[in-house]
Amino acid sequence: MAVFISAVGFGVVTAAILAISAVGFTLQFSVTNVFNLAFGSVMTLSGFVAYWLNHAGLNIWVAMAAAAVSGGLISLAINEAIYTPFIRHGLNLFGMVIVTISVAVIFDHGLQAAVGPTFFSYTAPAGKAFRFADFVLTRQELIIVGIAVLLTILVQVALQYTRVGKAMRGLAINASLARACGVPTRGVIALAWFVSGVLAGVGGVALFLDISTFTATTGSEFLIVIIAAAVLGGIGSPRGAVLGALVVGIVTEVGAAYWNAELKDVLAFGVLIAVLLVRPQGLFSRLATERAIAR
């Protein structure tokens, strides 16, 4: 029982880290319909901003806040400078995916050329460890879980109760109708990119803190599991992304504890396939309308 409890606890920590990024990824996709595979690159770039600030003497949590802002700005800039011109030219969904992959490759390889193919770590001690039987939680992990909970609640509340949140949801359901109803789509889309980037920045730093060390390509390497969490929960649903992250995190940790550590991914993605067979739209998604890329 102690093993199970600790595995579930570890799964929750993993889920919290994945959830921040998964919410960011799915929020932006739901509003813009751009399947942004450069999201991992934004995580990495922001992570490096935090790294440079952290090594300049800044506390890691302050550096994380700066990474969040820089992530938002980078995400916004990518959309404005690169994606929007393609969308204006009427590039289809398929073409946009290619563009986002190209951006990811350019950013990752450009960054690797600049910083070198080596590993980086933050100067941030894990802090005091809290033990509950076999389950150990460090102060750093506790803070990350707290940040994840806070951010996901903030996003959910904003989407549910604020004007701009409602506008985002309107865009997610039907962009043309939202525009006809007077929603300032361009501003709302820009805000979605910014918020998504903020979450990528926080998620990147949280992930890199958790895995202890990172390279110029680490964000992109973890994108697949972030997308998996978003898809499992229902692409376009922040609440679903959290639930998806919980399933992925807990299944992998319980799988590693009871089954075979080598096959934890097999188990997690097996569950993903099984859930999608029963519920192809994911656990929470309500988006099911014919949509094009929002402009």
């Binding site: 969904l93 995916v97 076999d134 060390t213 390509t217 390497e221 940790e253 934890k264 099911a288």
Partner: protein, 430 residues
């Protein structure tokens, strides 16, 4: 299918298609050198997760060509190193190798082909009659029959046995194992586990990790609960750093019995960042092929490495890296074989590799390219004793090494203890 799901389906298809396309479109930086020049290809990963392997191999090639060119080149030809990115993946390595073979008329030898791609590319170089000096540890090459394949360092199976023998030598009675599930790490895992059992040590935990995960907390907890005195381990830097960071949070990091990977700057940087350099240096016992830095050829390697700063950034970081050292020797051996054969044709000089390395009565022992070239010019037989020590190739073109346990002390690797052949044989069951 609704629009949302249709677009998602398209996106997934595109990701897959692009992945396949990327595999087939990897670019190599292969190019022919100036007319009359000869070319050694450094065929390794220069991008992707194993992007450090390429610079590591280049840190062996460039010092060698400094030495060779300073001695007048090979048969009057200057020689240069050409980095070619294999990306550490067979799907990328094969087209890169094919392009390199097809496009470079001055290519005379290949340094590289790591464990991840060697099986895929060695047949290509064999077919093209181009010698390849590989640092792969894969056991599938233990009885290699490809005449153009050469391996200076011991195979992973010997490495694993040496790691088990090291545990015994260190007085360990409870030794756990933790290996990544990638090809490179799995090479030494079976012989290490078998060695632990054969030597009568308790094996309280034996883990194979899926590499590149965001968490290994459950695995680290299981390892901590097993309370081993030492962990025999090989995994990539990212996996090692995440795992041992989490192990240090749930319990104690015991002695680590590692392999040459732990001497790579990237591995130490990642692990140092994860658990702290003090703890890492205190607990790490690296089991590596014995190659004392006092060997004459090693001193030359060090000197030429420092002279290669133009092509090798921060060259001192590679001075204790056994793979760089072995790659240096590989280039020197190929150059001497060409001199001995009086030909730079790969199909000709390949047969002379053993003639410049095998011990024989009356052979002049040389430690540098210049000395070897001079002796050959005087009609003497030579035996090159390189920076890794004597290189005795067997009938399968494998050369073995003695092993040592080394520790990182005050910024340098120091030999802590030698592991004898008898100790390794006991672990290997010979």
């Amino acid at each position: 299918m609704t629009g949302k799901w249709k677009s998602f389906g398209i996106a997934v298809a595109v990701v897959g298609a692009l992945g396949i396309a990327a595999c087939g479109s990897s670019s190599s930086s292969s190019s022919s050198g100036p007319k009359g020049n000869l070319e050694f290809a450094v065929f390794h990963a220069f991008s992707g997760p194993n992007a450090a392997y390429g610079p590591e191999a280049a840190a062996g090639c460039y010092p060698a060509i400094v030495e060779i060119n300073a001695a007048g080149g090979i048969l009057g030809h200057k020689v240069h190193c050409t980095p070619v990115d294999s990306k550490g993946e067979p799907a990328d390595a094969v087209p890169a190798a094919n392009r390199m073979i097809a496009s470079s008329s001055s290519l005379v030898g290949v340094i590289g082909g790591g464990s991840n791609e060697a099986t895929a590319v060695v047949p290509l170089f064999q077919q093209a009659h181009i010698p390849i000096f590989s640092t792969t540890g894969q056991s599938s090459f233990d009885h290699n029959t490809a005449s153009y394949f050469w391996r200076i360092l011991s195979p992973d199976s010997a490495q694993g046995s040496a790691m088990a023998a090291a545990a015994k030598k260190l007085g360990i009675t409870r030794a756990a194992t933790m290996f990544g599930n990638d090809i490179a790490a799995q090479g030494s895992a079976p012989s290490a586990i078998a060695g632990v059992k054969r030597l009568g040590l308790a094996l309280p935990a034996s883990q194979t990790l899926a590499v590149g995960q965001s968490s290994y907390r459950s695995e680290a907890t299981a390892m901590s609960n097993a309370k081993p005195q030492a962990i025999i381990t090989e995994a990539d830097p990212q996996t090692s750093a995440t795992y041992f960071s989490e192990l240090s949070q749930v319990g104690q990091v015991p002695k680590l019995i590692t392999d040459p990977v732990s001497q790579e700057p990237n591995w130490r940087k990642a692990m140092g960042g994860a658990i702290g350099t003090t703890l890492l240096n205190k607990q790490d016992y690296a089991v590596v092929a014995y190659s004392p830095a006092t060997l004459p050829a090693y001193k030359v390697f060090t000197s030429e490495l420092m002279a290669s700063a133009k092509h090798v950034p921060n060259p001192s970081q590679w001075n204790a890296d056994l793979y760089s050292v072995a790659d240096y020797d590989s280039a020197i051996i190929m150059a001497l074989a060409m001199d001995a054969a009086h030909s730079d044709a790969p199909g000709v000089y390949n047969r002379y590799v053993t003639k410049v390395t095998a011990p024989s009565s009356g052979a002049t022992i040389v430690h540098t390219y210049a000395a070897g070239k001079a002796a050959l010019a005087h009609g003497k037989h030579i035996q090159y004793v390189g920076a890794v020590g004597p290189v005795h190739f067997n009938q399968w073109h494998n050369a073995g090494n003695a092993f040592a346990i080394e520790r990182y002390v005050n910024g340098n690797w120091k030999v802590y203890s030698l592991i004898t052949a008898a100790e390794i044989n006991a672990a290997a069951g010979f």
